[in-house]
Symmetry: C2
Subunit: 125 residues, 2 copies
Amino acid sequence: MATTDALTVQEAADTTGWSPRMLRYIERAGLVVPPRSPSGYRLYGAPELQRLRTLRELLGAHDVGLAEIGFALRMRTEAGLARDVDGWLSATATRPDEVPADDWLRFEQAKHMRLLARPEPSPTN
Amino acid sequence: MATTDALTVQEAADTTGWSPRMLRYIERAGLVVPPRSPSGYRLYGAPELQRLRTLRELLGAHDVGLAEIGFALRMRTEAGLARDVDGWLSATATRPDEVPADDWLRFEQAKHMRLLARPEPSPTN
DNA sequence: GGGACCTTAGCACGACCGTGTCAAGGTTCC
DNA sequence: GGAACCTTGACACGGTCGTGCTAAGGTCCC
């Protein structure tokens, strides 16, 4: 009855494209936490494998890292955090009595700088 | 009348507790972007000052950094990102047919490891 | 009982975060 | 016209992220 479909780290790594090291790291981040065998071996089942593959797609599709997804997870598990962050972002982003679509433009520009900087691929390094 | 209440970086720094350097950094992150004088000077008005103070509280209250707030901002400005991330987090987080409140506990434990690691304040450093 | 797996812990390393500081040049204003 | 601001740009440095690798030890299974 198909209870045999639990892969070990190495096997899971092979079928998902992640390295065993990364699988453990991802677990640490709380993103994909497989159950364990009585002796402590990680047991990757179909759900985990699926999740690992979609995670891979997610990171590839957008410019995000594991830490960011981890933060998103925190946002939906720590109610206070979400409330405060969302509150801050909502409040006064641009004052309603001072937005002549000119400041707004400048704001857009600034925020479009891929998170922080990346002003020019300057050959400094 | 009262249009004179635009502070310069240094003044804003003094009244908000941030350093001028940080004010520029925060602007770069798109979190607080003050308007500019014709000659390019940053003009911090009451709204910006308020925002800077609350930002400070926000960072102090929870264990988050500017990058994380910046990411939250991206989540609410880049629709595709939010959709995908939220989708991933919602999907299969723990399979509905496999959650005997035992795995759940283990899951809780994992996620409670403050984002990544911090396993023990081991006196390594 | 021995080889092939697994576990955790640690070092290493480049890239970025959060900060400070310094340099070179423009503004303000007396 | 000079002092005291401002601007951007850069170097620096400890900290974390993402990743690999190695070491010391348990487990599986033939």
